[in-house]
Symmetry: C2
Subunit: 424 residues, 2 copies
C-alpha cells in the first residue's frame, strides 16, 4: 500500500468542479442522443473473462484487469485460468453485443443503444491517459443501410456542438476500400493485417515513416504502390476526387456508401466537414465497413470515432446482426473544455451563517425556505472574522449570503456588495 | 463461460425503461442534496487491496472482488498477497475517507460530500440483491456538532420525498447508548462486539430470538437484563419516555444529542417521524456516535441509513476528523417505485417514417426539424403494414408519428388517432 492515501496507479479522484463539468457535458450529450431516438442501457462493469478475451479487441485484451475467482480453497491455483473468472470491461462494445444477444426479444428493431460509463485498461500511465476512463457510445443494431452511419455521424456531431464544439471534421474510410487498396498494391491476403497496422501509425510516423515500414515488411513494389495511393489521397484532401482516383479493384459499393454518407451529412448539417481519408484504419479487428474519426481544431487527437462491425453480435448469438457504433472520446472532450469559463451551473449559491447556539431546527427551516426557490444553500457556523469567511465562500463559488436571526426571515444579499459591509 | 450470453452471476443488465427510472430518481436525489450544499465527487472503482482489507468493513471485507496484479511473470505466485494488488470498492465510505485525507487542502471545511456510483460485493445471489449495485451517499467531514446529523437526516428525507416517498420514519440510536446499555447489563468490554452482533439480528429473529442467543453467549443474568431493556424500548415505541428510562450508566451527552436531533428534525420537517430505537446497531465497526435508519411503509427493508464515524479518516491521514454519513438504499428505492405509473419522461416521442429510397440527407434534416422543439424522434423505414408498425411504436412509448414527403415539412399527429387512419 502506498504511504500517501492516493488512488491506485494510473487512476484519479475528481474534485467537485471537475464533476460539475463532466456531468454537464454528459447531460448535453445524452440529451442530443435521446432526441435522435437512442435508448440508454446499462451493463455490469464485469464480464466473464473468456468473453472479453475472445472478442477481437486487439491490444486492449492485453490490458484487461482480471478478477480472482471467489472461494479458491487451496493456494496456489495451477494456472491463471483456474485463478481468474471475470474481468473489468475494456470498452462498451463487447458488453453491448452480449446485451443484444441476450435481450433482443425485449428491444425495438433496429435497436439504437446509448451507453455511458467507465471502462478499464491497464495501460502504461501517461499524461492525460487514465486506466479508468469514461466512454460514451451510441450504436445501431439491425440496420444494414448507410442511414445508420448517417444518423451516428449527425448525432455525434450535434452532441459535440451541444458541448460547445461546433466546426467538427469527420474523417472517414471503409474497410472495403482499405482491402481493395492493399490488394491493388499487390499484397497477399495474409499480409493484410500487418499492412493495416503499419498504415494505422501514419499520425505518429508520417507517410514517409509508413513507406519505410511497409518496405521493411518485404517486397518494395507493393510498399511503394500503396504509399503512392495514400499520398494521392492526402494530396486530394478528402475531396470527391480522391474517391474517383481509387484503383478499380476497390469495392464499388464501399465507395458509393461513403459518398452517400458524405452527401447526406453535408445536407443535414452543413457546418460539418466530411472528408475521405484513405489512411484511416482504426485498430479494432472487428470492423467490417465504414469507419470514422471526429476531429476539432481545439483538440490535437480525435474526439470520437467508430465504424461498422457486422459480425460481432453473430459470434455471440449465432445469428449475424448488422451493427455500427460511434464513441465520443469523453476524457479528451473534458480536457478541451476544462479551460473555458465556468457557467455550467447557474443556480444561486448562498452561504447561510448562524450562531452555533441558534436553535438547530429553526436554522434548518430558514435555510430550507431559501432552498425552496431552487438556490443552493451552504449552512455555516459564523466565525468572528466575517470578512474572511465570506471571502472563502466567494472563492468556493457562492454568489450570495444570508444570516440567521431569530424570529425573522433571512435577507439574501449579493456577496460582492456585502463582502465589505459585513465587516463593519 | 456460460452458454447463454448473460451477465456474470449475481449481476444484471438494465433495460431502457429501468435506466430511465434510475436516472430520474438519481437526478431528483442529487438535486435535493446539492441544494443542501453537498458537492459531488468521484473516486476510482478500484482501491488498493490493503486499504480495503484494513477498513473495519466487517463482513463486507470477505466479499471483495480482488484484482490480479498485472505483469505476473511466473505462475503461480506463492501467496494470494503476491497475486493481488487491487480490489473493487465495497462501499463509498472507505474511498471517501481516502479522498479527504488526500485532498482536504483543496476542499471547503466542513466538507459536505455527495457520491453516487456502483459498489461490489460477492454475496450469495438472492432475489433483489445484486453483486454490483448503486450507492448514493452524503457525508459531512469536519463538523462534530449534531447539526451535521440534522442536515443529513433532513436532506435524505427530502431526497426520498422528491422521489415520491413522503412519510419517512427515522429510527435512531447511538453507539454510546448501546455501550452504556451493554455495560449496565453487566457485560465486560470484551464481550461487547459479540453482544452487538446479536442485537443486530433483532429484525430477523425477534426479541425472543435475541434473548435466546444472548443467553447462549454465557451468563443468563446480563442477557436477561439487556433483553429487558430492549423490550422496554420497544414498548415505548421510540418516544421520549424511552430515553428517560435508559439506565444511568448511559452516556448523557449521547442521550442529549439524540434528543437535539429529534427535536430539530421534527421542527424543520414536521412530516418526518423520528423515533429512538435501542435495538438499532448497524453492522459497521467504524461507527462512533449516532446511527440512523430510514424506513417507509411501502418498503419492507430500510431505505437508507448511516451514522457518525469520527475515527476513520484519522487512520488514513494521521489526524482525526469528525465525520458522519448517510446512504440511500438506491436499489430498494428503485424496487419500491418501479410499480408506479411511468411519467418520468414527459417529452413527445415521435416515430418518423420514410421510404427506403428517400434522400437520406433530407430525411435527417426533416427529422432534426422535429427534434428542434425538444421532441424525441425515432426514424424508421416505412413497412407495408403501417398499422402494425405504428402499434409497435406506440408499444415502445411513442406518442406521435409523422411521415417524410419530398418538398413538404412533416405533419405530426398523435398516435392514438392516426393508428386507425394510417391503414386506409
Amino acid at each position: 500500500m502506498s504511504q500517501r492515501p492516493v488512488p491506485p496507479r494510473g487512476m484519479r479522484d475528481l474534485l467537485p468542479s471537475e464533476v460539475v463539468l463532466r456531468r454537464h457535458l454528459l447531460g448535453r450529450i445524452v440529451e442530443v442522443y435521446e432526441r435522435y431516438g437512442f435508448l440508454q442501457i446499462e451493463t455490469p462493469l464485469l464480464e466473464e473473462i473468456d468473453r472479453l478475451l475472445g472478442s477481437e479487441g486487439g491490444e486492449n485484451e492485453k490490458l484487461i484487469y482480471k478478477v480472482l475467482r471467489r472461494g479458491i480453497e487451496t493456494w496456489p491455483p495451477a494456472t491463471e485460468g483456474e485463478a481468474v473468472d471475470l474481468g473489468l470491461r475494456y470498452d462498451l462494445t463487447v458488453p453491448l453485443a452480449r446485451y443484444f444477444a441476450s435481450h433482443s426479444a425485449d428491444l425495438p428493431v433496429p435497436f439504437k443503444a446509448l451507453q455511458t460509463g467507465p471502462v478499464f485498461r491497464a495501460e502504461r500511465p501517461q499524461k492525460g491517459r487514465y486506466r479508468q476512463f469514461t466512454q460514451c457510445d451510441i450504436d445501431v443494431l439491425g440496420d444494414a443501410s448507410a442511414m445508420a452511419e448517417i444518423e451516428l455521424v449527425c448525432a455525434t456531431s450535434e452532441a459535440l456542438a451541444a458541448c460547445g464544439l461546433d466546426g467538427i471534421t469527420v474523417r472517414m474510410n471503409h474497410r472495403g476500400v482499405l482491402d481493395g487498396m492493399v490488394s491493388a498494391a499487390g499484397y497477399d491476403a495474409d499480409r493484410k493485417a500487418a499492412v493495416l497496422i503499419t498504415i494505422d501509425k501514419i499520425d505518429k510516423i508520417g507517410l514517409d515513416g509508413v513507406r519505410t515500414e511497409l518496405r521493411a515488411l518485404g517486397d518494395p513494389g507493393p510498399a511503394d504502390r500503396l504509399a503512392d495511393m495514400l499520398a494521392a489521397s492526402i494530396e486530394a484532401e478528402g475531396s470527391a476526387a480522391t474517391l474517383a482516383a481509387l484503383p478499380a479493384t476497390v469495392d464499388e459499393v464501399a465507395v458509393a456508401d461513403l459518398e452517400t454518407i458524405r452527401v447526406a451529412v453535408r445536407e443535414a448539417l452543413p457546418w460539418v466537414e466530411v472528408a475521405f481519408d484513405a489512411s484511416l484504419v482504426r485498430g479494432m479487428g472487428y470492423y467490417t465497413g465504414p469507419i470514422f474519426e471526429l476531429a476539432h481544431d481545439e483538440s490535437s487527437g480525435s474526439l470520437g470515432g467508430g465504424g461498422r462491425y457486422d459480425r460481432m453480435v453473430g459470434k455471440l448469438s449465432g445469428q449475424d446482426v448488422p451493427a455500427v457504433g460511434m464513441s465520443i472520446g469523453f476524457e479528451r472532450l473534458c480536457h478541451v473544455l476544462e479551460g473555458r469559463a465556468r457557467d455550467w451551473d447557474r443556480r444561486d449559491r448562498i452561504v447561510f451563517l448562524h450562531d452555533a447556539m441558534a436553535p438547530a431546527g429553526e436554522v434548518v427551516r430558514q435555510a430550507n425556505a431559501l432552498r425552496g426557490g431552487g438556490a443552493v444553500v451552504r449552512r455555516e457556523v459564523a466565525v468572528k472574522n466575517r470578512r474572511g469567511q465570506l471571502a472563502r465562500a466567494a472563492a468556493a463559488g457562492c454568489s450570495h449570503w444570508a444570516e440567521y436571526r431569530a424570529g425573522e426571515e433571512p435577507v439574501v444579499q449579493a456577496l460582492d456588495e456585502e463582502n465589505e459591509e459585513g465587516t463593519r
